[in-house]
Structure formats: structure tokens, C-alpha cells
């Protein structure tokens, strides 16, 4: 009897592992930045290159940092979600135009709409590198003390906005 049951059990265990592996995106590496202070930078505003933006300015507020680019296809899927979210005025959204030509970034926002309170130009991607970006879009939730609390790899969808981001944001805002 055992000789029939044992392979079955082994098969079931293996199936669980394989099934779990199916739904996983291997590109989603857990970010070591969560729970750490958001890396400092000082970068020009997309529309006004003479003015600089630094994450310090956002201290005391919960805010969203969204990395995007005009050349990024997944960002086009994410864009309407951010547009809708911005109308709700839940929290300030800061966009980072990652490794992009300034005029391309501006053109994209002109055409599709601008959901951001501030847009920064990270032309050479140095700030993105400090934030552990290796593909866009990526979105960070940063708390009142300037600590990264969550990192979303890949586009923000209505589902994860509702299930993950919004509960976390209201929790952080209540603190």
C-alpha cells in the first residue's frame, strides 16, 4: 500500500511547488529598501529645469513616488489608473521621468494627461539606480518620516491600488 501512496504524496508536494512557481514573476525581487529612508537626490523639475526637487520637501506627508518613462510600454497601461487616482486627491504623486529625453516626457504628459503633482527629470537614471530601479514603472509609498514603506514593481492596477496601496496609505496617514 505504502509503495503506491508515497509517490502520490511526493507528486502532490511537487505539484504545490510547481503551481506556486507558475504564478510568480521571477523578476520581482524583494526590495531591500523597504523600511529604509528614501535615498536623497536633487533633480530638476521636468517643466522648469532651473528648479530642483528633493525628497526632503515631502517630509511630514505620505506621498507616492512613481518612476515612468515615455519609452515604457507598461507605463501606458498604468497611466489611466494614475489619472483616475489623482482626481481623488488622496496624496501627492511625484513622477520621475526615468532615463528619458525631457521633450519626450513632456510630450507624453501633454498627450495623455498629467497625473503628477510634481514631475522630475532623471535623465541619466542615477536617482533611479539609488532607488533600486531596473525597469519601469515602479512605485514607492513613502511615509511622513521619509521612509519607504512599499515598492510596487510593474504597473499599478486598480486591484492592487484598492487592495494594497490604499489601505497602507490610509494607515500611514493616520499615524
Amino acid at each position: 500500500m505504502m509503495r503506491y501512496i508515497l509517490p502520490l504524496i511526493l507528486f502532490l508536494i511537487l505539484s504545490v511547488f510547481l503551481y506556486k512557481g507558475l504564478g510568480r514573476d521571477t523578476r520581482e525581487v524583494p526590495s531591500p529598501l523597504i523600511g529604509k529612508a528614501a535615498p536623497a537626490f536633487s533633480l530638476p523639475i521636468l517643466y522648469e529645469p532651473a528648479r530642483q526637487f528633493s525628497p526632503k520637501e515631502m517630509l511630514g506627508r505620505v506621498w507616492l513616488l512613481n518612476m515612468w518613462a515615455s519609452w515604457c510600454e507598461a507605463c501606458k497601461d498604468e497611466h489611466p489608473v494614475l489619472m483616475e487616482f489623482a482626481t481623488r486627491k488622496v496624496l501627492p504623486i511625484v513622477g520621475v521621468d526615468y532615463k528619458d529625453k525631457r521633450e519626450d516626457g513632456i510630450a507624453t504628459l501633454k498627450k495623455a494627461g498629467d497625473p503628477y503633482d510634481t514631475v522630475i527629470a532623471d535623465v541619466d537614471g542615477k536617482a533611479g539606480f539609488d532607488y533600486g530601479v531596473y525597469g519601469v514603472p515602479e512605485t514607492y509609498v513613502i511615509d511622513k518620516k521619509g521612509v519607504i514603506r512599499y515598492k510596487q514593481i510593474g504597473p499599478v492596477t486598480p486591484q492592487n491600488l484598492r487592495d494594497t496601496l490604499l489601505p497602507l496609505i490610509s494607515e500611514l496617514q493616520a499615524k
Binding site: 525581487v29 533600486g132 531596473y134
Partner: protein, 204 residues
Amino acid sequence: MKFLFIALICLLPAFSFAGVAKDIADDPVLESRMIHLAEKVRCLVCQSEPVSTSHSEWSQDVRNIMRDKMKAGATDQEILDMLVERFGKSVLYDPPVDNETMPLWGAPFVMLLLGGVFLYVQLKRRRSRVAEAVLTIQDEQRAATLLNESAPIQSDSSNFPHPNPDGTTSHSTKPASGQVAGYLPEGEGTNESLRGLHVKDTQA
């Protein structure tokens, strides 16, 4: 004229070079040190390739940052630490042994242990399935003559009593010294003619 035209066409490739960004340091020592270090770093965009050989833009950035840091006097370890700080331990092909990576490093040993236990149990079960051979005096004498031995074969008392595969212990009631129990694996006998004495469980 025709010849000139063909010659001109042949020259065309010389004008076709693209103005790609330089992805190499001026200092060959620094470049080889950088490549050596980049071999230890996983390209997160292409997954199965080290940063040293990847053509992805992200890997190019990492290589450039490595060069800059090296020029600024950073040690290899400092550069790796900097990468781990931003991208996590999975960026290294050889992640450090700590609480988080313990399952990864420990799994092969756990597997080995499980395999060992399985092998032990299997061998034990196999042993208990081997039949006891109950030899008569005649058999024993025949064996003795075949082996050209003058002394009678001593039975190994430590092997007694072994239950029969059918659960009975027929010979254990009479572990006479004139009986020989044992199992010789096929092919290990030194004497070919001893084959006849090899008794195996036919039920197995």
C-alpha cells in the same frame, strides 16, 4: 566606370559605423577588474546572465557605476555592498550565508540527509526480506567437500534467529549448530560451484 562604381560600393561598409556610447574604461587594469567583479553580479533585467556579459541598458549602467566607483577608490566589497543595498542579495550570484539565505544553502544537506534515511530504510527492509537457508547435514557436507575444507562450517550464531519472510520462525526453535544461515549476494561467491547454495527469497 563600372569598376569605380563597384569599388565605391565595396567601400560603403567603412562608413556604416554607428556612434555607440563607449562601454569600456581607458585603463585596461581597471576594466579587467571591473569585468571580474561584474561576473559576480546578476543582471536583474535578463536574469540568467551576469552583468559582465549582458547587453542590457541596466547592466551597462551598473558597469559604468562600477567603473566610476573604482576610479573613486572604492573596494570591490564596497561596490557589492552598494548593489546589495539597492537591489537585494539576489543580485549576487554567490549570496552570503545568513538567516535569510539559510534555506537556500541548507536545502542540499537536508535533501542528502533525507536520501540517506531513505536508503537506510530501504536496505534494512531488503535485508529482512532475504530468506534464511536451512541446510541439512548432507548439504553442509557437500559444501565442505566443495570448499575443500576439513573443518565443518561454523554457523554464525549472531545471525540467528532470523524470521522467515512468511513471518514464521521455523528454524529459530532449533538453532542447531549443524545449520548454516546466510545470504551470499549473486556474483560475489569466490567459488562458482557454490552458486547452488545461494538461496534468495523467491517471494520478493
